[in-house]
Symmetry: C2
Subunit: 212 residues, 2 copies
């Protein structure tokens, strides 16, 4: 069977029907930033907030996907790009399923983030730059990776021996060095409200949402 | 960064919480059978029925996945196994998200179906063998592929020049040559009810569900 014989099947249940059932506008919230910046922490906290408020979500995590779908990939430049490509495609399936999808990956290169953005309709891809300074990330070093990168035990480590290209026009910027996780979540929730992903909430000081 | 430095992150929102929000027991309904057997047709009809009855579903289709996630794969034995492996892993993510997931792939080999089954907890993987006879499939030939396989234009075509290994213990067997699509759907819905994937329904003759 050759590649020429692949035919696109229309799906009987359409994307907007799946979204309507969930009473939400699906999107991909893409967290990018250095190792230790707090991507997974903020993404998990946002996921918790959305879930507790009745939204249908799923979180794709760089490390977790590496154990399953992408366990055949290493850390060469080529494999890192393929890692992000597959995560983008899978995120596309989740968004097609009507899910508010969160992804937390270093994704250091503009070209790969652009590749993923281009897989989505305008407004569906929401880039969150977790802009925690390198010295703070290195000081945290939750997995001891920066130490190994400094001694050369780990090669091509983002921020040390490999570039991180700052997003030029991210939809949202947060910094876990100067603001609490709750405040970061609050900022993203307000963006989602402003862009009609979820209805408007009035956020109380304790970050408990109330429908306005 | 080497493969040794991958750490599993616990996800803040657990699988059972995602399922509870959707009021369903997530599972993977895996359709297998020859090209033209009716896998996509029955899967789409089941998807429609489940969606219309308020269930949160998603359908992964062999042809559709080939255009995105697996567009880098060809049709060699190795690539076909990798195709199914990735679909299994992605299905695992959807089930983890609390979704009733449907997959329609020829998946001709017992070993690859076993590989996917082994990714899931007992009871989560439901194999539906669409056991439409080869002569009926070839007679339908909706994409003209059997004709090309007979002339040798397509190599390694399942059922003609490559084996299809019948499932030994599928959870459900349907045959679209002798039964209507509605009756096939009905049979699967009854299995889902019997196995508490969805609540018990009493099915009227027109296949409209009523809660019993």
């Amino acid at each position: 069977m050759s590649g020429n014989n692949v035919v696109w099947h229309d799906q009987a249940v359409a994307k907007d029907e799946r979204s309507e059932l969930k009473k939400q506008k699906p999107c991909l919230i893409w967290f990018t930033g250095l190792s230790g910046a707090g991507k997974s922490t903020v993404a998990n906290a946002l996921d918790r907030w959305l879930h507790d408020n009745g939204y249908h979500t799923y979180l794709l995590d760089g490390d977790n996907v590496r154990h399953g779908l992408n366990k055949d990939l290493g850390f060469s430049d080529e494999d890192r790009v393929e890692n992000i490509r597959r995560v983008g495609e899978v995120s596309g399936l989740f968004v097609d399923a009507g899910i508010i999808t969160l992804s937390a990956f270093i994704s250091p290169f503009r070209s790969e983030r652009r590749m993923v953005r281009d897989m989505f309709c305008p407004g569906e891809f929401i880039e969150v730059f977790v802009n925690t300074p390198l010295d703070v990330c290195e000081d945290r070093d939750p997995k001891g990776l920066y130490k190994k990168a400094r001694t050369g035990e780990i090669k091509n480590f983002t921020g040390i021996s490999s570039d991180y290209e700052n997003p030029e026009k991210p939809e949202i910027v947060v910094d876990t060095a100067t603001t609490s996780v709750d405040v970061c979540v609050d900022k993203i929730v307000q963006y989602l409200c402003s862009n009609a992903v979820i209805p408007a909430y009035s956020l109380k000081e304790d970050n408990t949402a109330q429908v306005s």
